[in-house]
Amino acid sequence: MSVTTAPVRTAPEAVSFTAARLPRIAPALVAVVAVAAAALPVLLLGWGPVAWAILSALVFLVALPVWAGVVEGRRGATDRLMTGLVWTACAIAVVPLASLLWTVVDRGLPRISSTFLTFSMYRTSLDQEVGIYHALIGTLLITIGAAVISVPIGIMAAIYLIEYGKGSRLAGWITFLVDVMTGIPSIVAGLFAFSVFILLFGPSYRSGIGGSVALSLLMIPVVVRSTEEMLRLVPADLREASYALGVPKWRTIVKVVLPTALGGIVTGVTLAIARVVGETAPLLLIAGLTTRTNFNLFDGRMTTLPVLIYTQNANPGIAETPGGTPPGVEIAWGAALVLIVIVMLLNLVARVIGRIFAPKTGH
């Protein structure tokens, strides 16, 4: 084999070190052709734009790999196919997301006004304006409460799992049970917190902090899991370098490991907050519903935005004009938009913090 093929093989390699590649504009070219080719049956059979888009994508996903296969070989074809698939997945995922966001913005925006944002629902006569300020405060306080409880516990537990307990039986159990914890239905968490607080403070006790406790049961697994993954990815060299300089272990964790993983941890915490900020069932049980603004997390009923959205939508009242949108539905969509904006701002703040802290390495 070697003798006969040798001259044939060496000749082209000596000339060029790169294999044959498709021209740079190939994907764009194929895309245009695919859209045009798909247009033909669409026009003939009278299909809609959705079918056209799907057909174009399919044609593209077949045509480009085939062409690449001819020019670049099998590996190139696989690469092209996967690139196409990955982008398609992204496009498919964005469609429902965009539709959802559009629906919320479209239906929520008309209701937003300064009254809506600064008034509560406390009224003394039926013709007064109402707003969602009380629910806004309730959501902020209860969520902050839940974060204050679950973020330290979650991060410390993850530190234990990765830095101290690695490989121990206890750590194995904790990791496993944290996974189990992710599947607790929110209403069960609410019932649990409710019965604990009733047991401790009597049957008429309603407060925001009870809601915070219920929510932290749902938050902790997300915080632990994401933090754990991020800590695991911190290179061992960094820790070793720190130990070598005589830095004690806890200072190494605080000053080297945590900052290195901070971007990911912040994402995890944001996710956890996002996970619970929209919870309804547990909060209705233990934090109740009120029309007034309550600033005391530890005593008295507190309304949150999701509870407000749920109850307003469930009992929307009667529309002023027959066939119009009932007032409760308008309030619900407006509140949903506000809730999403709050989380968006929170996310933004978290990202900024993450960026400030991220160690400035070449990575």
Binding site: V86, L101, G183, P185, V222, R239, W250
Partner: protein, 313 residues
Amino acid sequence: MATTVVAEDTGRARPRLGDRVFSRLALAAGIAILAALAGVFIFLAIEGVPGLSKPAEFYGSATSFWGYVAPLLFGTVLAAVIALVVAVPLAWGVALVVSHYAPKSIATPIAYVIDLLAAVPSVVFGLWGISVLARELQPAYVWLDENMGWLPFFAGPASGTGRTILTAGLVLAIMILPIITAISREVFAQTPRLHEEAALALGATRWEMIRMAVFPYARSGMVSAVMLGLGRALGETMAVAMVLSPGGGISLNLISSSNPASIASNIAANYKEGTPGKIQVLIATGLVLFLVTFLVNFAARWIVTRSERKLHR
């Protein structure tokens, strides 16, 4: 790996006060989690066990607890499976686009939009599911029934409103997509640049680089992400309660109007008007869900360790 052990040993050889306090704190946090979970379990057991053996009239049309919970359990698992099958490939695709394919100017907005979706309250997903998704999908279900009715999944008759378990599964998929994407994206991004560049330098295509350098490094995190998504899908309450049209028994038919409800949504729907006895039954179903989550996680862990051993990692 060996060097880490040495380093840890040096740390342990000189236990300082700070170290001891810090490690105790970390341990305490871990134990707090165990305690909380034990608390939930004890609560479920005390409140739920009487619900396992109530007189038959507490179980609606079923005669025993197991007859009552079986369709609910089936519905829970079916909806979660649909959600995972749809969401996981999409989520990994999006995560790869953000971390490796797209230029930064496109990747950041995509990542941001996806994160935003994690924040949409379940109630809003429910509202959107009814008013937009179910309506859009209904003609598709009719088509599936007519053209692919020979498959047991599409046996029909197609739902008149589109509020089927498939729709509920798709809504769940959209809900868990952001969670899986966000965590996968972070772990993909953590792949050491050196590994990636080494792969590329050896002549690997981009896909080969991802398969050989990124995936092995990120495997554990990808599994974690999926497990978090699964947990959410199993436990999701409000969105499923709003979107699904329940009432059916165990059936693989995905497009009809009588579907098995999920455990969590059934609790939410029936808790409100429940008398104390009925609530015990509902909490007992919660206990079942708890045990199922336990088993599913157990199974997943076993599969992961086995496949990791196979891959010599």
